[in-house]
């Protein structure tokens, strides 16, 4: 048992080996599906009027796909900087509890805080799901190296994917181009439903789907925030009401 070793001393090559195993682990079915979503994002970013550099930087700096799609949506509807930032922040709150759940898996007494802050940037749904599944099979003091390989590779590969798709998106036949632009909404339609833990999120999704386009007509620029607040708030009230009845 790895954990029972009194004070394991590791050569740098051990860290490299586990880093590389993390790199290899990124080639997986969830990783492949994520890449198809980034293919869609590359096409979407071009249609939104972003430059190649902006699209690639956005991929590396934000990484979480919902936040990127929300920011793109905000840019397209002409939202102001504060409104866009608020909408993106609201769509990213869920990252905090995910990181909270992941950190205890990776931390040892010797782990330096900056390593954890750096690695937390790689947290988004796919890398988190893969990490929660695989980290337990990795020796504890090798887990940060492993996640660095896994998360870092997913980010880097998809930055390249976005750049390549952006480059060729302009020369695709219209039918393929239309299919490319449908990838992102379908990816989220399915993955959002699949990752919801409670019925409140399912109601929120249905409300948001309808309220988004309705508010887009009524209040362009603030449509996302209003649809999110109304739809999410209503779903939460239903959740409270049902829980209250279940208890009574």
């Amino acid at each position: 048992m790895m954990q029972t070793d009194p004070a394991p001393v590791h050569a740098p090559s051990d860290y490299w080996r586990w880093y590389l195993r993390g790199v290899v682990a990124s080639a997986s079915v969830p990783g492949l599906i994520l890449t198809s979503a980034f293919i869609g994002f590359g096409g979407l970013a071009r249609e939104a009027g972003l430059t190649l550099l902006q699209a690639v930087l956005m991929t590396g700096m934000i990484w979480a796909l919902p936040a990127k799609v929300v920011l793109l949506g905000a840019i397209m509807t002409g939202a102001s900087l504060p409104a866009a930032a608020f909408a993106v922040a609201l769509s990213s709150v869920r990252l905090a509890p995910m990181v909270v759940a992941l950190v205890p898996e990776m931390r040892t007494e010797k782990t330096r805080p900056w390593v954890l802050y750096l690695l937390s940037h790689f947290v988004a749904v796919t890398s988190w799901v893969l990490a929660m599944e695989k980290l337990r099979h990795v020796p504890r003091d090798m887990r940060t190296a492993y996640y660095g390989g896994l998360g870092g590779t997913l980010v880097l590969v998809n930055m390249i994917v976005v750049a390549v798709v952006y480059g060729i998106a302009g020369s695709l036949p219209p039918g393929i181009s239309a299919g490319l632009l449908l990838l992102t909404p379908i990816y989220f339609l399915t993955s959002l439903w699949g990752s919801s833990r409670e019925s409140a999120s399912h109601f929120a999704m249905l409300f948001g789907l309808v309220l988004g386009p309705v508010m887009h007509v009524i209040a362009p620029g603030l449509d996302l925030l209003i649809a999110g607040a109304l739809g999410g708030g209503a779903a939460f009230l239903i959740h409270l009401h049902r829980r209250g009845r279940a208890r009574a």
Partner: protein
């Protein structure tokens, strides 16, 4: 203060940095800081998840109803029908995201081919 409000090379990057990177990574950093002090099952987190889900769903709705580029040339009913079939396939085939994507794309491309709506 919109994305193309100020005509300089750096404004879009500042916009992405503040509205994108800062608005996202502050939650990740908060997560590291809080460590194990927040319960994933708390009611406040249910509300937060509901708000975030509705917000992302609103973007999805807009991407289907008010798309840009070549997808805008496809009639609305074809877009909605493709999405509905994709979602149904996802539910029917062991909640497979891949099945949903393949089914939706198949419907869309078939409709474009049959009706020649793309000219």
């Amino acid at each position: 203060m919109t994305f193309d409000a100020i005509d300089t090379w750096w404004w879009p990057y500042l916009f992405i940095l503040l509205a994108g990177w800062l608005a996202t990574d502050m939650w990740r950093f908060l997560g590291v800081y809080l460590g194990g002090r927040v319960s994933e099952k708390s009611e406040a987190l249910v509300l937060v998840r509901a708000l975030a889900t509705a917000l992302v769903a609103a973007v999805i709705g807009n991407l289907i109803v008010f798309p840009s580029g070549a997808l805008a040339d496809v009639p609305l009913w074809v877009r909605i029908f493709s999405a509905v079939v994709g979602f149904a396939a996802f539910l029917a085939i062991r909640k497979s995201i891949l099945a949903g994507i393949v089914a939706a794309e198949a419907v869309l491309l078939t409709a474009i081919y049959l009706f020649g709506q793309m000219g």
